[in-house]
């Protein structure tokens, strides 16, 4: 039965439109003035609700980029309804390319393969970046990143090394620091979950996965340009506030995993402000779909298809 994953994907896409835009405007977190290695005045303010409008990873600023979708819309952008990874991407080692190819064949057969999102599992880094919304809570000794998928969150310890022995977890062990206007997060120790993939195409990872995130604010014009560039790869689903003229947020991340990739590669995700006014609960286990206004319903209200007899 393939209905459940389809509903979950529908819910995922609905989340782009239905979620955030909290009233917490650019106000720094309380107590930001102590114990940071960088002075408070120069620490960038990442507060507020951010939304990126596309489903997948955006193009890199330079160099090798992520696995891309082979299926394209007439516009040339990725067809998010049919995810078939380009297994010929030179970043992939042969074994990894074979994995991506097999997942693509499942998609092409009309089925949806299980992934951490549609199986309602915690999402590993960097898979978790698909979340359309993110909020960064900056404190003196840590940054907490909140995502809508099952109210997930990551805690990044600032100005600390990784422990000598990392206990693997799906979010991995994340430490960070500020470099001028940029928050740099280094993540290792990502657990090999039941559906170990770093993107929507099923690209695998090993325990050697190493992800470096770099968050920085972009001016309005640069944000607009970056969003337009991203939209050429993934069509816009989420509703960015069209009236917002402030700064945007860009995540550039680099992925290394010698067990899977022939070389490090990078990608970007550019965030604007969400056009909606609240951070909605996204409960994956509710198995809901969305209505035409992109609202969620509990199961009793969901428009589940019914059948009086089997199809075969």
């Amino acid at each position: 039965m393939n209905l459940r994953p389809q509903f979950l994907l529908a819910m995922t896409l609905a989340g782009a439109v239905a979620t955030p835009a909290l009233a917490q405007t650019a106000a720094p977190s309380v107590g930001l003035s102590s114990s940071t290695e960088q002075s408070t005045a120069s620490i960038p303010d990442f507060s507020g609700l951010w939304l990126h409008p596309g489903l997948g990873f955006g193009p890199p600023l330079s160099g090798p980029g992520p696995v891309r979708n082979k299926t394209r819309l007439p516009s040339g952008a990725s067809d998010f309804r049919l995810v078939v990874g380009d297994y010929t991407n030179p970043i992939l080692k042969p074994e990894a390319a074979e994995v991506v190819k097999k997942f693509g064949e499942i998609s092409l057969s009309g089925r949806i393969f299980p992934d951490p999102d549609n199986m309602c599992l915690q999402n590993p880094v960097p898979y978790i970046f698909w979340n359309f919304n993110v909020q960064l809570l900056q404190q003196p000794d840590k940054v907490t990143l909140i995502y809508p998928h099952d109210s997930d969150f990551r805690v990044v310890r600032l100005n600390q090394p990784h422990p000598a022995t990392v206990i693997p977890s799906l979010h991995g062990d994340s430490v960070g620091h500020y470099e001028g206007d940029t928050l740099v997060i280094d993540t290792v120790g990502v657990k090999l979950g039941p559906y170990r993939m770093i993107d929507r195409f099923g690209t695998p990872y090993t325990q050697a996965l190493h992800v470096i995130e770099r968050y920085r604010l972009l001016d309005y014009e640069a944000t607009k340009e970056a969003l337009e560039r991203a939209e050429k790869e993934w069509p816009r689903i989420g509703a960015i506030d069209p009236n917002y003229r402030g700064k945007g947020l860009q995540l550039e991340f680099t992925v290394e995993d010698p067990g899977v990739f022939t070389m490090p590669w990078s990608a970007t995700i550019t965030y604007g402000r969400n056009a909606n006014q609240s951070w909605d609960e996204r409960v994956c286990a509710e198995n809901v779909e969305h209505d035409y206004q992109y609202n969620y319903f509990s199961e009793k209200d969901a428009h589940l298809p019914t059948a009086n007899k089997p199809d075969f």
Partner: protein, 300 residues
């Protein structure tokens, strides 16, 4: 229902209170240090549950931490909801999940107030306009708005409810010491106070009023005085929930995923157990198998 008028009165009074509090959110006062990992407190006479290695006043973690779960809570339930509660316990005695079905079998959030139990440590992030209570384990994160906003008129049902708070500097020392919070629905449900299925009213119209503050004598002890106004209660029910701060200033946050470890299968309102071999097993004596009418060879 016994509490309905009281709930209405609280709503009106609280709306006025929130309007008055607008100016207080931006007065430059300092905020208390609530950083760290807040773990569920248990009383000195707590007992160890060898099954899961946790200490409680009896049974699994409870709403009133000083009393055992379930009947031991002595919740002031109306006769109608006492009956619902007893039915839940009876169903659990036979292997079912009673009123706790959705949370235990389907990994749905428990919502308010179950999410205050702290099955895993809570993280509280205080910012000027919002205080976040991050719960983990598929429970929604709480956002307590302290920016002086009024109640929205278009609230949709949620598990966490909608929370508006205000900071108080009760000892007038320039540092806020109490966060007063009111949380309203409509909620999603059904909800329960603990795993016995101790129920809240199925109308999902509960209101919660809280006072959250550090203990004056023990700065690593956090109080959350919660009063529940619910139409399944004969009177408001107040408990003083406590949390202890993990002494590690940089605690390691553990991940907990209900789905990842869930061996239960829900088919309609029936639950089954899936063993390590992937075989479906009954959870209670003489439980019938799922309806197999559409599996032609097996339906005979």
């Amino acid at each position: 229902m016994p509490c309905r008028k009281l709930i209405y009165a609280i709503r009106v009074a609280s709306a006025l209170l929130m309007i008055v509090s607008v100016a207080e959110a931006a007065d430059g006062a300092k905020y208390p240090d609530w950083d760290g990992a807040w773990e569920r407190w248990f009383p000195a006479n707590a007992v160890l549950d060898p099954g899961n290695g946790i200490y409680t006043a009896g049974g699994q973690p409870s709403f009133d931490q000083t009393k055992p779960w379930g009947r031991g809570q002595k919740a002031p339930l109306t006769p109608e909801y006492q009956k619902i509660f007893e039915d839940s316990i009876a169903d659990q005695a036979k292997g079912g999940e009673g009123n706790f079905f959705d949370h235990a079998i389907r990994c749905m959030p428990g919502g308010m107030p179950l999410m205050t139990i702290a099955f895993t440590p809570l993280e509280i992030v205080v910012t000027a306009k919002t205080t976040y209570v991050l719960t983990g384990n598929v429970e929604p994160n709480r956002r307590i708005y302290t920016d002086g906003r009024d109640w929205p008129t278009d609230l949709t049902p949620t598990y966490a409810g909608y929370s508006i708070g205000r900071w108080l500097d009760e000892d007038d020392d320039g540092v806020y010491d109490v966060l007063e919070v009111e949380t309203r629905g409509p909620f999603k449900g059904p909800r329960a106070y603990d795993a016995t299925g101790l129920p809240l009213h199925f109308d999902n119209q509960s209101i919660f009023k809280e006072r959250i503050y550090l203990d004056k004598a023990h700065p690593n002890l956090l109080h959350d005085e919660i009063t529940v106004f619910d139409n399944a209660l004969t009177r408001p029910w107040t408990v003083d929930k406590k949390y202890t701060r993990n002494p590690n200033p940089r605690p390691r946050w553990t991940e907990s995923s209900c789905i990842e470890t869930n061996s239960m299968v829900a088919i309609g309102r029936e639950s089954y157990f899936m063993n390590a071999d992937g075989m479906l097993m009954p959870v209670r004596k003489n439980q019938p198998p799922p309806d197999l009418r559409y599996f032609k060879e097996w339906a005979k």
